[in-house]
Symmetry: none
Subunit: 402 residues, 2 copies
């Protein structure tokens, strides 16, 4: 029996409340003083929590495998990221609020500037401002509602970006990007990657031509490109599997998109970390699983900014009492992957986590750090098993067998 099936069978709703605090890319490597970002940071609140928690390390995909954000998060949400794979296109589509149902295909659009004969002069239409771009989307949404028998829905994105969702029979995601990839080159039209992608490719090309017609004479956005054709994966939903009411408290579109895909409610959580944490408090009575996503640890890590990443950790530490004040039954603190500043990139190193509950097998952990986690009570485990562990600590899983 697969773990998810087992958890589904054993789980029940007892009203206990869980928080998953994800500090994106939290795992690090030793920096200037032989300490990792997490070790170098002054974190009295996280450290006090560590003394009352079980610590360990998570492998999000597999040992030695560097996870993208999608697989890393799927793992945290209890999915085997090698069984369920989700394209970036679908994530971003959901992040801007698009609803993508079974059989639908979405694609990321770029407004572009094209010349006569479909030479692509600027793939981003001069990074047209978000507000202007939204007006263009509005105009198109009015003008283009169907291509043949396929319904089209537009969603505006940031700057030159938008999302198009195609719904109709016979569509698949097996279509190559309609994007020349370089500027000054002729348009590269959509082509099917397999026979079942033919209809979608044809619709995509008709769509692009219609956009050009509607925007004829406009500037700088007088055409579009379409990339990342993706259909919604067939994935079990968290509320159904775990009998929970999960909510995503995140700022960035991709993480919202992923959360929506697995069945979470997605709310507008504001832009600051304070706002994020306050949102959890506001929603406290309405949900029982709170996914809280802090992006900036990863951002600073990707920048190679050791001090910056350290400071984000300290900021999170400073506002951690906001979450503790809610008296969660279970609070897990971890990341979706490591992003060591010294590498300026995601890495394969296992991710530190701690799990706080009244039933934690507490040890001698004095801090939340890679070093403490590797000798912590939980040891090194697969990331996809964390959710089940949280459910267990919340008393939401029955015994297996008599």
């Amino acid at each position: 029996m697969k773990r998810m099936e087992l958890l589904q069978r054993l789980s029940h709703d007892n009203g206990k409340k869980m928080i998953l605090l994800v500090m994106d890319g939290i795992g690090g490597l030793p920096g200037p003083n032989g300490k990792t970002e997490l070790e170098a940071a002054f974190t009295p609140n996280l450290d006090a929590l560590a003394a009352k928690s079980e610590l360990g390390l998570l492998d999000m995909v597999d040992i030695g495998i560097t996870p993208g954000s999608g697989p890393g998060h799927l793992s945290l949400f209890g999915y085997d990221p090698l069984e369920f794979s989700i394209g970036r296109g679908i994530l971003e589509a959901m992040g801007v609020g698009a609803l993508v149902g079974p059989g639908n295909v979405c694609a990321r659009g770029n407004f572009c500037t094209r010349s006569e004969g479909d030479i692509i002069l600027d793939r981003r239409a001069g990074r047209i401002a978000t507000e202007k771009s939204a007006l263009v989307v509005q105009k198109l949404a009015k003008a283009i509602q169907e291509i043949d028998d396929v319904r089209v829905t537009f969603y505006p994105g940031k700057e030159h970006r938008f999302v198009a969702v195609f719904s109709g029979a016979g569509l698949t995601e097996n279509v190559a990007d309609a994007d020349p990839q370089q500027e000054g080159a002729p348009m590269r039209w959509a082509v099917p990657l397999s026979a079942d992608g033919e209809k979608m490719a044809e619709v995509a090309n008709k769509f692009i031509r219609r956009v050009s017609e509607v925007l004829e004479g406009e500037s700088p956005a007088n055409g579009c490109l379409l990339r990342g054709f993706s259909s919604a994966p067939d994935i079990p939903l968290m509320p159904d599997v775990y009998k929970m009411k999960p909510v995503a408290v995140a700022t960035y579109p991709m993480y919202k998109g992923l959360a929506k895909l697995v069945g979470m409610t997605v709310v507008n959580a504001g832009e600051t970390l304070e706002a994020l944490f306050d949102t959890v408090g506001k929603l406290w009575n309405d949900y029982d699983y709170f996914y809280v996503h802090v992006k900036y640890t990863d951002s600073r890590g990707e920048d190679g900014d050791f001090e910056g990443k350290r400071k984000v950790v300290e900021t999170v530490d400073g506002i951690l009492p906001k979450l503790l004040a809610l008296s969660p039954d279970v609070l897990a603190v971890t990341g979706d992957h490591s992003t060591p500043s010294v590498m300026s990139a995601h890495s394969w190193h296992p991710v530190p986590f701690m799990l706080f509950s009244p039933f934690a097998r507490t040890g001698d952990s004095k801090a939340f750090s890679e070093r403490e986690c590797r000798v912590g009570a939980s040891g090194r485990i697969e990331g996809k098993k964390l959710l089940g562990l949280m459910l267990a600590h919340a008393g939401r899983l029955e015994k297996y067998g008599a």
Copy 2:
């Protein structure tokens, strides 16, 4: 998706160089002073490396399972040893230079002394000298080239040993040994272990009779036994899967054979440890994955010689700078299994390893030992995952997913 398939998809050749230093049977148990062989040995170089490495323990097959050398090595090379099993016969065959293609079957031969009526008087023909044995093989190779429609190729081995490779249609390895196992007993002829082994068993018995005819009247070798019928396993090759140029630097036939089987180039590396390590330097520009095999840790362990095993470790430590001087991007030091001297045998105990690279999550490891490895940064992992981890540290794996 299986791990090997995942690694194949993610791996690329970036020219980074990796060394896998295998001290056969390195894992031990506490001896006279409560220290293991590795802990008792004076190893300043290995210990200095440990401070710059990630340490951990490897389970080569599964917890509690004692690996043979074949499964132990397959695991180190990234294969699941429960999925890919390789008979000792095929290993030894390749070790003496035999080429065994798909559908071929090889067997280890022993020259024996038999009496009238096929009573086996001496299963090893008085351990006939290697040079004499080679002459017998020469004679047979001239006299016996085919049995029915099956082609036969001979390869001389050490003392009374040789290898026969059978090529032709309808052959399988499902044949029991043609060997009475004891002396003074009548010959036990080959019998099929399943219906598809019938042809091979028949050919084997005809072969043995032909050998007796050709050697009639000779002494002490006037007949032969055949054991370990084996066909080449259908196994993905390391260069194809991992886009690398691997080379085996080993002295003993079986390890060379295994390396050849998984697609490594096999070179003549000399008989001493110094020669072995010097060979790595000579080949440095031509390969990117160096499998270096030190046999004697296992030999002394099998002898129950604690001090002897300790000394081999110290010898390796003394010449380790030869490998370090090459500035490998990744250097992993481990064994293929444990061979505690106090057991005089292979054992199931997890095998200490350390992995040195610029991206090692170094901790507070002060020595390379079982004790340090069990609290090391890598924790206890499956042996078959080490290769992927080496690839990761070499920057030879792309990120998984967006």
